[in-house]
């Protein structure tokens, strides 16, 4: 029986995650015993799981028999079905993950424990809300010690949130280039001058960055007045960070996409027909999982999530994703997770040995993929041959709900108004021919009061 250690589980000596015969386990090493005992005995674990702040686990005494020494326990954690990464989250998702981390820290401090790390990668979205997935993040607090994960929290959460709130909502993507969090000096330099005057950012980002720079590579020396000093009251530090995070807001911006329905692509009748048709297709397919590409604010994704389908609503526009997230949150939608994704440059395999964080393809396929009002953006907007679009979608899902927007559509006409029409294949016949190489067209129907067409397809070759 082979045991596959998770490729990202190697930094913390307290334990690691592995799979064996398709089951996910977490091994806890003997060295972590006192901290684990305190986590369980103090009632912290129970409180966190009850409030859905930490992923629950079961202890597996049987697995302990074959675990490699020096194992202390083997746990079977609840499985998060789809792992998303901070660079795929919108502002609100990152903010909620930050607040979750601080809440967990605060509850831990009440019981004499502290978070020994504060990585955004330790948070996943599960049933509509963020949860901490690293059960081994806790350790017994040493009185008077500064918070060991303070810098990590500021780099992973505060810096990207501040940049999105005060510079531009698209800067969340910077997290992809800095998996250990944004360097504080970089964030400090990019932020506008006025943020230096705000108490929270002035302290936790700007002054912090300055201090860090001063003592980097051993330069400078600790001022003598620091002799014998104690660290801050960590409850106070957590509260200060919480106020700072809570004060950050994403300025609303009416982008082309977040006001998409105003463009008048559909008459009322067409929109109603499209909704009914998509709902009918979902009822026919009954998928367990669905990826909606170009989901915008998730209007059609909601048709899936309302049917209990685990739905991911991908869009490249962070403001549209933000609106989708806020709406899903207000509806307490447990089945919908909106994520930021540029289909022309989907998340790659990344991290050490390109294996720590999986690409979009390694997290595929979903049962069903939905691509409504998207093909013209890929084929005409990005010059992608229809055959390449079809093969991409076939890798992502087993069945497909797709809308074809022909050249006669006002939107496509507008796209072609100022450029040469170099797309002779972009016709209904060309579309059907290209997609028939990968899919079997089950149903096709013209959208009422529109030149667009809706298709339901199933992958021709299962895998």
């Amino acid at each position: 029986v082979t045991q596959d250690r998770h490729p990202s589980s190697f930094r913390d000596p307290s334990g690691f995650v592995f799979t064996r015969e398709g089951v996910l386990f977490r091994q806890v090493q003997e060295s972590y015993r006192p901290h684990f005992e305190k986590l369980m005995a103090s009632g912290l674990y129970e409180a966190l799981v009850r409030d859905r702040l930490l992923v629950p686990h079961e202890e597996d005494a049987g697995a302990l028999q074959w675990a490699d020494p020096p194992a202390y326990k083997v746990l079977r954690p609840a499985v998060v079905p789809f792992l998303s990464f901070p660079y795929e989250w919108c502002f609100g998702e990152l903010k909620d993950a930050a607040l979750l981390t601080l809440k967990v820290l605060d509850l831990a401090l009440d019981r004499g424990l502290v978070l020994k790390d504060a990585s955004a990668l330790n948070v996943q979205f599960y049933q509509g809300s963020p949860v901490l997935i690293d059960t081994l993040s806790f350790e017994i607090q040493k009185p008077g010690e500064p918070w060991v994960a303070y810098r990590q929290f500021c780099r992973h959460f505060l810096a990207p949130l501040a940049l999105m709130a005060h510079v531009d909502g698209r800067l969340g993507i910077l997290q992809q280039g800095f998996p250990d969090g944004l360097p504080l000096d970089l964030a400090s330099r990019l932020l506008p001058l006025r943020t230096r005057l705000s108490l929270g950012l002035g302290l936790h980002l700007h002054a912090h960055a300055k201090f860090e720079r001063r003592y980097s590579d051993g330069a400078g020396h600790p001022p003598p007045q620091m002799k014998g000093r104690r660290g801050p009251n960590l409850k106070a530090l957590a509260d200060s960070l919480r106020s700072c995070v809570e004060s950050l807001k994403l300025p609303s911006r009416r982008t082309r996409w977040s006001g998409y329905e105003l463009l008048g692509s559909y008459s009322e009748e067409a929109l109603r027909h499209k909704r009914e048709w998509v709902a009918g297709a979902l009822d026919e397919l009954r998928p367990a999982t669905l990826w909606d590409f170009g989901a915008n604010r998730g209007e059609f994704s909601q048709l899936a999530s309302a049917r209990g389908i685990a739905t991911l609503a991908f869009d490249q526009d962070p403001w549209a994703v933000e609106e989708a997230y806020r709406e899903a949150k207000s509806r307490r939608d447990e089945n919908l997770l909106p994520l930021v994704l540029d289909l022309l440059n989907p998340s790659p395999d990344s991290g050490w040995e390109n294996a720590e964080r999986a690409s979009l393809f390694r997290r595929a396929p979903a049962n069903t993929v939905m691509a409504l009002a998207l093909v013209h953006h890929l084929a005409i907007g990005a010059n992608l041959p229809l055959g390449r679009v079809a093969s991409f979608l076939a890798r992502c899902g087993r069945s497909l709900i797709i809308e074809f927007v022909p050249k006669e559509d006002p939107q496509v006409r507008q796209m072609l108004a100022i450029r040469d029409d170099i797309f002779p294949e972009y016709t209904v016949e060309g579309f059907e021919a290209a997609f028939s190489r990968h899919f079997r067209i089950k149903r096709a129907e013209p959208l009422l009061d529109s030149v667009r067409r809706l298709y339901l397809m199933e992958r021709a070759v299962p895998e």
Partner: protein, 95 residues
């Protein structure tokens, strides 16, 4: 990192070096280097995460400010809670 963790920038280091060097600047420089080294050596042995020297020191320097602001906030919260309570007409005065 065996044995008791030494305190960084300890008192006896100050005294031990006193008067031995004719150049006070050189002494200070040596002290600074030694104290940073001592500080790093005394960082918790169980921290697998690098807390960052600057970040660690920053927390020591700002501890009073962070703690003071928190105390003020708690105090202010109590005052407003008290005022709100005394504003309210007495509840259910009874027969």
């Amino acid at each position: 990192l065996s044995g008791p963790a030494p305190r960084w920038y300890s008192q006896d280091m100050d005294e031990g070096r006193e008067g031995r060097s004719p150049r006070p600047q050189a002494t200070l420089g040596l002290l600074a280097t030694a104290s940073v080294a001592q500080f790093l050596a005394s960082s918790p042995v169980w921290a697998y995460l690098d807390p960052g020297t600057g970040s660690y020191l920053f927390q020591l320097v700002t501890a009073a400010l962070v703690g003071g602001l928190f105390a003020l906030k708690v105090f202010w919260g109590r005052i407003t809670k008290f005022l709100r309570r005394s504003d309210r007409p007495p509840r259910n005065p009874g027969p």
